[in-house]
C-alpha cells in the first residue's frame, strides 16, 4: 500500500526534473540532424571555429559561469588534456552530473522515507554529494592535464635521438619529424599537440616559423622542453649540424633526468621515514584493540 499524499510532491518533482532534462537535451543540440553535424566536422577539419550552441552562448554571457571558468582555468586545462570540448561544455556537463547524483541520492532517500517513515540521512547529504561530484570532475580534469603534459614532455625528450637522424639523415624538417614520430608513441599526448594542428586548442594566431610555434606551445601548454628544442633549432646549422645539436640536446635531457632521479632518490630516503613511522599505527591497533575490548567488556559486565 502506497500513500499517494506522501509520494505526490516527489512525483511532481520527478516530472519537473524530467521536463528540465528534456529542455537540456534540446538545448544541447542532441537532436541536430546528421548533415549539420557533418558540416560542423568539415568546418573543424578546415580549422574554422565551431559554432557554439545556444546554451553555450548563453553560458558565455552569464558572468558567474565565466568567472568560474576563469577561476578554474578550464580552457587551458581542457586544451592541455587534449579534449575536444569547450570550457562551457565541460562546466555544463559537470553540473549535469552533479545534479544527477544529487537527484539519485534524493530518490534513494525518498524511497527510504516512504519505506521507514523517516529520513535515514539528512537530505543535505544529497547537496554535499553534488558538490563532491563537481569537485571530483574538476580534480580529474586537472590530473588528466598534468599527466598529459608530463607524457608529452617525456615523449619529446625520448624522441630527440630519432629527430637527430630524421632531420639530418632523411632531410625532414623538425616539425615533420616530431609529428611523424609522435604517431609511433604508445600514447597520444604529444600527437594531440603536434599533429593535425592540435596546438590550435591553446595557441592562437599565426606563427612565423616552427621555432616561433614551439615557443608558443611551450608557453601555452607549460612544456619547457618545446622552448629548449626551439632554441636548439634556432642554433642548428650555425657551426653545428642538426644531428649534433639534437644529439647533444638528447644527451642533456637524459643528464637532467639523471639529476632529477638522484634528487628524487635522496628525497625519498628522507620521506620514507614517514610510512615507517606510520607503521606504528597498525601495530598499536593490533595490540590495543583486544586490550581495549577486554577492559570495556570487563567494565560493562561489572
Amino acid at each position: 500500500m502506497i500513500e499517494v499524499g506522501a509520494v505526490l510532491p516527489y512525483a511532481l518533482a520527478a516530472v519537473a526534473v524530467v521536463a528540465l532534462w528534456a529542455a537540456i537535451l534540446s538545448h544541447l543540440d542532441v537532436f541536430t540532424p546528421a548533415d549539420v553535424h557533418a558540416w560542423h566536422r568539415l568546418a573543424a577539419l578546415r580549422g574554422y571555429a565551431p559554432a557554439r550552441g545556444r546554451l553555450e552562448r548563453a553560458a558565455a554571457r552569464v558572468p558567474m559561469l565565466r568567472r568560474i571558468q576563469d577561476e578554474l582555468d578550464l580552457p587551458r586545462l581542457i586544451g592541455v588534456a587534449g579534449r575536444n570540448e569547450t570550457a562551457a561544455g565541460f562546466l555544463l556537463r559537470s553540473l549535469f552530473l552533479s545534479l544527477l547524483s544529487c537527484g539519485l541520492c534524493l530518490t534513494a532517500l525518498v524511497v527510504a522515507l516512504v519505506q521507514t517513515g523517516g529520513w535515514p540521512l539528512p537530505p543535505a547529504v544529497a547537496l554535499l554529494l553534488a558538490g563532491l561530484v563537481f569537485l571530483l570532475q574538476v580534480s580529474w580534469l586537472r590530473s588528466s592535464a598534468r599527466a598529459h603534459r608530463d607524457q608529452a614532455g617525456t615523449a619529446l625528450g625520448d624522441m630527440l635521438m630519432l629527430v637527430a637522424i630524421l632531420t639530418d639523415g632523411r632531410g625532414l624538417q623538425l616539425e615533420d619529424a616530431v609529428r611523424i614520430l609522435s604517431r609511433s608513441a604508445d600514447h597520444r599526448a604529444l600527437q594531440t599537440i603536434v599533429d593535425n594542428r592540435g596546438w590550435e586548442r591553446l595557441v592562437e594566431g599565426p606563427h612565423r616559423s616552427t621555432i616561433h610555434l614551439y615557443r608558443l606551445i611551450a608557453e601555452a601548454y607549460g612544456i619547457p622542453l618545446f622552448a629548449t628544442v626551439a632554441d636548439a633549432a634556432a642554433n642548428a646549422n650555425l657551426g653545428f649540424s642538426e644531428r649534433q645539436i639534437y644529439t647533444r640536446l638528447a644527451g642533456s635531457v637524459y643528464q637532467q633526468r639523471l639529476a632529477e632521479a638522484r634528487f628524487h632518490t635522496a628525497r625519498a630516503k628522507m620521506l620514507v621515514t614517514l610510512p615507517i613511522a606510520g607503521m606504528l599505527i597498525p601495530l598499536i591497533v593490533l595490540i590495543a584493540a583486544p586490550v581495549f575490548a577486554s577492559i570495556t567488556g570487563g567494565l560493562g559486565s561489572g
Binding site: 542532441v30 610510512p275 575490548a293
Partner: protein, 308 residues
C-alpha cells in the same frame, strides 16, 4: 489520507521494464555526455596497459607472459585454498589479494634487476656491433645476424630474432618487442630509421648517438632502481614486523579468541587496509619516471612509407 492499492506486476514484466528504463537512461546519458567511440577505444587501450605492465615484469624475468599470468592465477587460487582449509572467512578476501599482489611484489625486484643487467649487456653489444662494422667491414645486416648468433646469456631471448634470415627491420622490431626496455626500444628505433644510410653514417650514429645516450639512459634507470630497492626493503621489513607481531599475539589464548570474533576480524581488516595504504604511500614516494614506449611496428611502417 488516500491509500492506493497497486497490483503487483509479474516478475518478467518488472525485470524487462527495469532493463528498458536503464537502457533508455544510458542512451540519454551517453547523448548528454557526448560519449564518442574514439574515447572508448582509448579507454580500452588503457585497460590493455595493465596487461602491458604484466608483460614487462614477465619479460624482465625472462619468462613468456602466459607463464607469468598462469603463475599469478595459481597463487590467487592458493590464497583461496588456504582460506578454505583454515576456514577463516577473512582469508577469503585477504588470501587472493595477498596471492596476487604479494607474488608480483616478491618477483618485481628480481625482474627489474635482471632487466638492468640485460640493458648493460645490450650497450656492450652495441659496441660490438659498431666494431664489427668499423673494423671487420661487415654490413649492418650481417653484423646483426652475427650478434644474434652469439648473444650471451643475458640477451639470448632478446637477440635471437636477429639470427633469423628475412627482413632485418622485422627482426629488429621483434627484438624491441621482446626486450620491453627503453634502451632497446630506442636503439631499435634508431636502427629502423638509419639502416638505409651509409656504413660510415651508421657507425657515426652508434658512436655519437646510441652509445652515449644509451649510457645516460642506463644511469637514469640505475638511479630509479635504487629508489625501488629502498621501497622494497622497507616494505619487506614492515611486512615481517607485522607478521611477527600478529604471530606472537595469536599465541596468547585471550588475544586469539578476540581475533576469531567478528570484532577482531574487523580490526584485522582495518589493520590490513592501513598497511596497504602505507605501502601505497611508499610506492608513491619512490615512484620512478615512466618511459615512452614506441610502437616499433608503426615506426617501421612510417619508415617504409617515407621510403629509403
Amino acid at each position: 489520507m488516500i491509500a492506493l492499492a497497486l497490483p503487483a506486476p509479474a516478475p518478467g514484466f518488472l525485470v524487462a521494464g527495469v532493463v528498458v528504463i536503464l537502457a533508455c537512461a544510458c542512451g540519454v546519458c551517453a547523448a548528454i555526455l557526448d560519449v564518442d567511440l574514439g574515447h572508448l577505444t582509448a579507454l580500452r587501450r588503457r585497460r590493455f596497459a595493465l596487461l602491458e605492465r604484466e608483460k614487462d615484469t614477465a619479460a624482465g624475468l625472462g619468462w613468456p607472459w602466459q607463464r607469468w599470468m598462469c603463475l599469478r592465477i595459481v597463487f590467487i587460487a592458493l590464497g583461496i585454498a588456504v582460506a578454505f582449509v583454515t576456514g577463516i572467512n577473512l582469508l577469503y578476501v585477504v588470501g587472493p589479494i595477498a596471492g596476487a599482489v604479494g607474488f608480483r611484489f616478491a618477483l618485481a625486484g628480481r625482474a627489474a634487476d635482471r632487466r638492468l643487467r640485460m640493458e648493460r649487456a645490450f650497450i656492450g653489444q652495441l659496441r660490438n656491433l659498431r666494431d664489427r662494422m668499423a673494423l671487420s667491414n661487415q654490413s649492418l645486416d650481417t653484423a646483426l645476424q652475427e650478434l644474434g648468433r652469439n648473444p650471451g646469456p643475458e640477451l639470448e631471448y632478446v637477440l635471437s630474432p636477429l639470427s633469423r634470415g628475412g627482413s632485418t627491420v622485422a627482426n629488429v622490431v621483434e627484438m624491441g618487442m621482446r626486450a620491453r626496455s627503453p634502451i632497446v626500444d630506442q636503439a631499435a628505433g634508431v636502427l629502423i630509421w638509419s639502416r638505409s644510410r651509409s656504413l660510415e653514417s651508421l657507425i657515426d650514429t652508434i658512436d655519437t648517438i646510441l652509445i652515449p645516450v644509451g649510457e645516460a639512459q642506463l644511469a637514469v634507470q640505475e638511479e630509479g632502481m635504487v629508489s625501488l630497492a629502498q621501497q622494497r626493503a622497507v616494505t619487506f621489513a614492515m611486512s615481517a614486523l607485522l607478521a611477527v607481531m600478529l604471530a606472537v599475539l595469536l599465541r596468547i589464548s585471550s588475544f586469539r579468541q578476540y581475533y576469531q570474533s567478528p570484532a577482531g576480524q574487523l580490526v584485522l581488516v582495518i589493520v590490513a587496509l592501513l598497511f596497504a595504504m602505507l605501502v601505497g604511500l611508499l610506492g608513491a614516494i619512490a615512484r620512478t619516471r615512466e618511459w615512452t614506449r614506441w610502437d616499433l611496428r608503426s615506426m617501421a611502417e612510417q619508415q617504409e612509407r617515407l621510403g629509403d
